[in-house]
């Protein structure tokens, strides 16, 4: 639809016409804000933490373990050079000794969810399966953060999220602390 609209505008004399081809579906999938009358509901992005540590597959487990634990996490997300999630490493992999690479011990292809998904049904599924956290990515697989179930339960109980996803100049968005 939008390509036809763009052509129509050019026919009407507009010279600088752009087509955001991925449309509002892509905008929402990144967790960016929208306007309108749709009932506001809590989304995955409302309870997602961006501060999860990341590592590359070619790093050693010993290095990564230290980094994760220094930041208070027992999990590290494995990303490629484009920030695309390729795996996850956590206990009991930390117990290995020697120069073992992350690639050898990571869990490949972990489950991910999108930031615009509804929070409540996801938290219910996590409670049923006793899942502590799930990775949040864009539809292209780029890491946004981690939804920690306890944080999600707090947000559903009415507590404000610690951080929210805001747009910024020249990038898909950034995390910012709530007032």
């Amino acid at each position: 639809m939008s390509p036809r609209a763009a052509c129509r505008l050019e026919a009407l004399g507009f010279t600088a016409v752009y087509d955001y081809v991925d449309g509002i579906a892509d905008w929402k999938a990144t967790g960016l804000p929208t306007e309108g009358t749709a009932e506001p509901k809590q989304r995955v992005a409302d309870a997602t933490r961006p501060d999860v540590p990341t590592c590359r597959p070619d790093e050693t487990v010993v290095e990564v373990k230290s980094r994760a634990h220094d930041h208070g996490w027992d999990t590290c997300v494995v990303v490629d050079c484009d920030g695309i999630v390729v795996g996850r490493i956590r206990s009991p992999a930390w117990d290995v000794e020697g120069d073992v690479s992350v690639a050898e011990l990571m869990e490949p292809g972990p489950t991910t969810v999108r930031p615009d998904g509804l929070l409540r049904p996801l938290i219910h599924r996590m409670q049923k399966r006793d899942t502590a956290h799930v990775l949040v990515t864009t539809s292209q697989g780029a890491l946004i953060g981690v939804l920690v179930r306890e944080e999600g339960e707090r947000v559903l109980a009415g507590e404000p999220p610690q951080q929210i996803w805001r747009d910024c100049d020249g990038c898909p968005g950034r995390w910012a602390s709530t007032p």
């Binding site: 939008s2 509002i24 309108g36 749709a38």
Partner: protein, 67 residues
């Protein structure tokens, strides 16, 4: 017409005050649209309806997912 992605859209909105036009039907626009977007449904893209747009500033159109 130039196809753009979300990153370029944000640049155009921030630095060039792009005019964002939602070409979806009015009902869908009312339910949810990009911040500051105006609604001119595809079938209503006439000289009269588009006269509210500046011909100097960039115009970005979007629908649900391009289809």
């Amino acid at each position: 017409m130039t196809p753009i992605d979300r990153v370029r859209l944000l640049q155009l909105m921030e630095s060039e005050a792009a005019q964002v036009v939602d070409v979806l039907p009015a009902g869908e626009y009312q339910e949810s649209h990009l911040p500051a977007a105006i609604n001119i449904p595809l079938r209503e893209l006439t000289p009269v309806r588009t006269s509210v747009l500046s011909t100097v500033k960039p115009v970005v159109v979007y629908c649900h997912d391009g289809l």
